[in-house]
């Protein structure tokens, strides 16, 4: 019925069996993200609405992966599922070799804390906190102890995104591109393996959009991080290692 069911690889990700096969486990170890048979049905409307209909997806470690598709195709929903924020109604998701679809809410939160950094179209910075403080909050949440230590790491992260000189500015005094770079520095807090970004350039002009993507690419390549970017923006295609298209809840190409 769905695309996923026709794929031969689907069955190998089923539970403990998968881990016991050396070939499969080495395959999984080279993958940052593996999704198999992911379905999502929203039940909030008048009748259930299937947004994702059998998604199979693998993202290699260290890759910059783009997820593109028309509005309403389910990109954000898929990103939330892959990032461990939403639980799919069916299917399995493995992140860095661990199945996250069976985790409890708390386990998921702990997993995200260690492994995933998020970047949003709307930046989601605390407006009352300076650039450095926004990063420090993330560091504190991620368990870094000591005010001094947090301040120092925050400065280092802001240096990485080229914003050390703006560390005392409030978000309202930063440009869109600068805000997004603060958000990237924040996402880097705790040194996550995977960075997931939803339309990170949609609120930016093309120049700062490009700078942001270039930065993400550089961060991925320098530290072997995996970056998954949801975008509409065709100009980002050049920066990607791989591109996946989502349409009507299914993957094409």
């Amino acid at each position: 019925m769905t695309l996923s069911q026709t794929r031969p690889t689907q069955s190998i990700f089923n539970g403990s069996y998968a881990a016991s096969t050396p070939l499969i486990s080495s395959f999984r170890n080279s993958m940052a993200v593996v999704a198999s048979g992911v379905e999502m049905v929203y039940d909030s409307g008048a009748e259930p609405y299937a947004v994702l209909r059998g998604i199979d997806l693998e993202i290699q470690k260290g890759d910059v992966q783009l997820l593109m598709g028309p509005s309403g195709s389910g990109k954000t929903t898929l990103l939330s599922i892959l990032g461990g924020i939403l639980t799919p109604t069916a299917g399995k998701v493995f992140l860095m070799g661990q199945e996250i679809t069976g985790m409890t809410r708390n386990q998921l939160a702990k997993f995200r804390l260690k492994n995933v950094g998020f970047i949003f179209q709307g930046f989601n910075l605390f407006p009352a906190l300076t650039a450095a403080e926004n990063v420090e909050v993330a560091l504190k949440v991620k368990g870094l102890r000591g005010l001094q230590a947090r301040r120092q790491v925050a400065i280092e992260l802001l240096e990485q995104v080229g914003l050390a000189d703006r560390m005392h500015h409030l978000p309202k005094d930063l440009s869109g591109g600068q805000k997004q770079r603060v958000a990237i520095a924040r996402a880097l807090a705790g040194d996550p393996h995977i960075i997931m970004a939803d339309e990170p350039t949609a609120s930016l002009d093309s120049q700062s959009g490009h700078a942001v993507i270039e930065l993400l690419r550089q961060l991925a390549k320098n530290a072997g991080r995996t970056v998954l970017i949801v975008t509409h923006d065709p100009r980002l295609v050049d920066a990607a290692d791989r591109i996946t298209y989502l349409e009507d809840g299914m993957i094409h190409g």
């Binding site: 939330s80 924020i85 995933v116 998020f118 605390f126 909050v137 949440v141």
Partner: protein, 415 residues
Amino acid sequence: MASIARKNLFEDVPRFLVAQAGIMFAVSLVTIQTGILNGFVQSTGQLIDQSGADLWVSSKRMQQLEVSPPIPLQRLLQVREMEGVAYADPLAIRQVLWQTPKGQTTVARVYGFQPGGAFFTQWQLVAGEVGDLKTPYTFIADRANLNTLDLHEIGDRGLVGSLPARLVGITKNTSSIVSGAILFTSLETASAYTKTGTTIRCRIRAGATECLTALEDPYNQNSASSTPPKAPEPISLADPISFVLLKAKPDQNLEQLRQQIEAALPDTRVVTNAEMAEITRSFWLRRTGVGFVLGLGAAVGFIVGVVVVSQILYASVSDHLREFGTLKAMGASDWVIYRVITEQALWMAVLGYLPSMVLCLGLGSWTMATKGILILITPAIAGGILGITIVMCVGSALFAIQKVTHVDPAIVFKA
């Protein structure tokens, strides 16, 4: 993390100020109501606190300081003769009709005692001399009662029944808000005041009798025809008094002495000074319902505070829902967010409490100075109110907390 709470709070200064005004209103209301209740309760027993007596001997049917059936003066002599009693003095409390210099009538109480005796020596006299009470028809009043009595300074006069009364001293902190004006007099004067009635003079003229109530001062100092009043009659054994106050000999066991007196004088009840104060205070508290009324006011203040603080915290959290969602998306546990909100509530509590307390203490000294109304804010009450304020603010945070708890982390992706 500290910074999120504080900075969210100061992010919108006008809103913060409105919130603090609301909290100040609530805290002040609770403080003043509690302070008035406390001042009231304290004032009803403060005269007893200052008596200096060890034991109070009264009628068995004594209700409280001002409601106690009379006992004969003879009890005083009997108590004085008892072993273990160092000295004893009488106290007679009676209700009388006071007529102000302008001729208005009001109810007052006469407290007849032994001036220069062993008791009520801890008074704070702001003017005059206790010794002057030995002159007949003189009295001392609390400065808080001067208004009621319509007197202004030492030497001012009024009438009790048809007898004159001259102010010879002014005390402070001796009257309670509730009990009405008190005239402290010598026992003899009190006895005379108790016996005096309103004089009715009747004349028989041409076979018809015409009677008049003497509302005018028959001993008016301005009137040439006035005759000085007779000196009060000496006290006799049959004269009624209300209490015998006694001081025990050093090392005397009070409990033993109490039993001894109650056994010897079967129609009496003997209580310690502290018990007497407690009986009187709890009488006023329970019988008058004033505790309930003031407690109701305090409760209203508390509820207002909860509503205001809830509103503000809820609004602040709603404004930052996306950021809190972001913290959750990062993997922060709910507790991290609860801490931020609770801390915000605590800041509001402390920043609302401090100015309110200053305000209430100021108001308290103003009412005491101008109205003689005691708003008693003890350190214990101030501490208790801080506790209440914190409970109020943190409790109000629960609404905001439950809003954040139910936030879907997926909100973070909504543009």
